[in-house]
Amino acid sequence: MADQSIADAAGIMATAAEGDRSRRARLVIVLLCVGLAIAVLLSLTSGASDASAIGVMHDWLFGALPGDAALSARDHVIIHDIRLPRVILGVLVGASLAVSGAVMQGLFRNPLADPGLIGVSAGSSLGAVAVIVLGSTMLAPLTSALGTLALPLAAFCGGLATTLLLYQVATRQGRTSVATMLLAGIALAALAMALTGILIFMADDRQLRDLTFWQLGSLGGATWQKIGSVGPIIVLALAAMPFLARGLNALALGEATAGHLGIPVQRLKYTAIVGVSAAVGASVAVSGGIGFVGIVVPHLLRLLIGPDNRYLLPASALLGAALLLLADAVARTIVAPAELPIGIVTAVAGAPFFLWILLRKRGVIDL
């Protein structure tokens, strides 16, 4: 029954422009831009200090406003040095996770694929945990040389190393087997998690607390410096993704057919893999394990605008950013003055949604 109503709704969508959903997709993208702008303003103005939205906007656009609506010096510091970096980080991480999910799903031709699935996140975690636990002993030269950059770099390297290793395992004679890659990814993720477990076993009490919070995921530690270190990586990776959209669309028909249509499939896969591991590695480094954004966001959007990646990728970036800001707002306020790790919020909302997708798909479309 639920399937029928969804099919009906989808049918109305499809017939409105006779199977051409691009106009609808563009409209949704415009609306998502507005939605993201609202989410940004809400995030900037919500919290312990009650700086007004008008005050914040005016302060940015025209300088300080006279009278009551003006930002106090304290508010100015709170907004610019605490909330603004946090909001920018939320936008970057949300967009990066959602787009990475959409790209992985297109690559694996499976709506349930996720960077977490092929070990990218696990590899990044291993790199980051290694720095947290061994940073003052074995890896001391590294951490003293790189300073605060050590953690994001280690996570990025961990993610990239896992992905490249995976690619080596799954590629024979220039062809990448997606099935092998999926299975090898599960094995590598298990290995990375086991190594992470050894490091956690070695950690002292203070490190354990750091690790736990980092693994649960949080945007709490956002600074301009962190944005400077991972922002360019994420922005570069995201900027490359739109060039993959047409190829990913063709890939929905299978690798052979995509090749017949003129898509350089090997290069497409390689670019997608490197882009995703860069974006995910950078995101995990600054925010820890924030799950389900990469599955939930593209899935919702496919229901709304269809699976055309030319629209799905930018829309995922916008919705991923907006949803992560909302989740962060919930994380900051629900147990105020304490703060819930954002990974818990996304998991509590995302896991049931994931199950709902599975239940809905069962018997309708073969996964």
Partner: protein, 262 residues
């Protein structure tokens, strides 16, 4: 012209296709027939650039192994036996994927309307808004053909012929649509393109093919016009099945009747 010389294909160390010589000329339908497992699809996949092969394949004089995907996509389009789809695309979105290579050969500005026209040709007028996954197998096969037609809409581009590779294009179709699809192939050839089709129906083959390549256990068993190739002896040898080839008085066209099996 497509020329294949001494083409052999091995998959996992096992030789599936051995020493096949083949050619497809513009203006003609070249049919590949043979029993299941005789290597027809494997040979077509090698011709499509999906599989490594030994020997030489040239398309319009250019070596296939030196062609980039986008170059090959300009000179030939491939209809696979079956296509599974991973996301809920509409029929129009699928057909439009045929235009992804960007050289349909239609007049400038006509590309936008090609999906509609291609769907009309395969008798799927009004299906553009439907979801691909909701269609029947035969309808899905025709949607894929519409996509393939978009890719090489003009049978001749830059003065050079283009080719349709069709792997069992009528296998899941009713008789009316079998004829429609075969007419589309014939029309493509008449207008200067070339067609390579794997067929199972010997009567359709006799009716439409200009040249037949019979494959048997990975090798070429016979080549020639339907009149030359379709004989009682060859069919018994290749298909292991005693059938009687008849000849219609008009047009001298052979037909094969299972009813007359001894």
């Amino acid at each position: 012209m497509i020329e294949a010389r001494d083409v052999s294909v091995a998959i996992g160390g096992k030789r599936i296709v051995a020493n096949v010589d083949f050619e497809a000329r513009p203006g003609e339908i070249a049919a590949i027939v043979g029993p299941n497992g005789s290597g027809k699809t494997t040979f077509l996949r090698a011709l499509s650039g999906d599989l490594g092969y030994s020997g030489e394949v040239t398309i319009n004089g250019r070596n296939l192994s030196a062609m980039k995907p986008v170059e090959a996509a300009t000179v030939r389009a491939v209809l696979p036996q079956a296509t599974t789809l991973s996301f809920p695309f509409t029929v129009r979105e699928i057909v439009r994927l045929g235009l992804v290579g960007g050289r349909s050969g239609a007049l400038p500005g006509e590309d936008q309307r090609l999906p509609e026209r291609a769907l009309a040709r395969v008798d799927l007028d009004g299906f553009a808004g439907r979801f691909y996954q909701e269609l029947s197998g035969g309808e899905q096969q025709r949607v894929q053909l519409a996509r393939v037609l978009c890719q090489v809409w003009a049978p001749v581009l830059d003065g050079k012929p283009r080719y349709l590779f069709l792997d069992e294009p009528v296998s899941s179709l009713d008789i009316k649509h079998q004829l429609i699809i075969m007419d589309i192939a014939r029309d493509f050839a008449r207008r200067g393109g070339g067609v390579v089709a794997i067929l199972h129906d010997l009567n359709l083959t006799a009716m439409y093919a200009d040249r037949i390549f019979v494959m048997h256990r990975g090798r070429l068993a016979a080549t020639g016009s339907p009149q030359q190739v379709l004989s009682d002896e060859l069919i018994e040898k290749v298909f292991d099945c005693r059938l009687k080839v008849g000849v219609l008085p008009a047009g001298n066209m052979p037909f094969v009747l299972p009813q007359s099996a001894a």
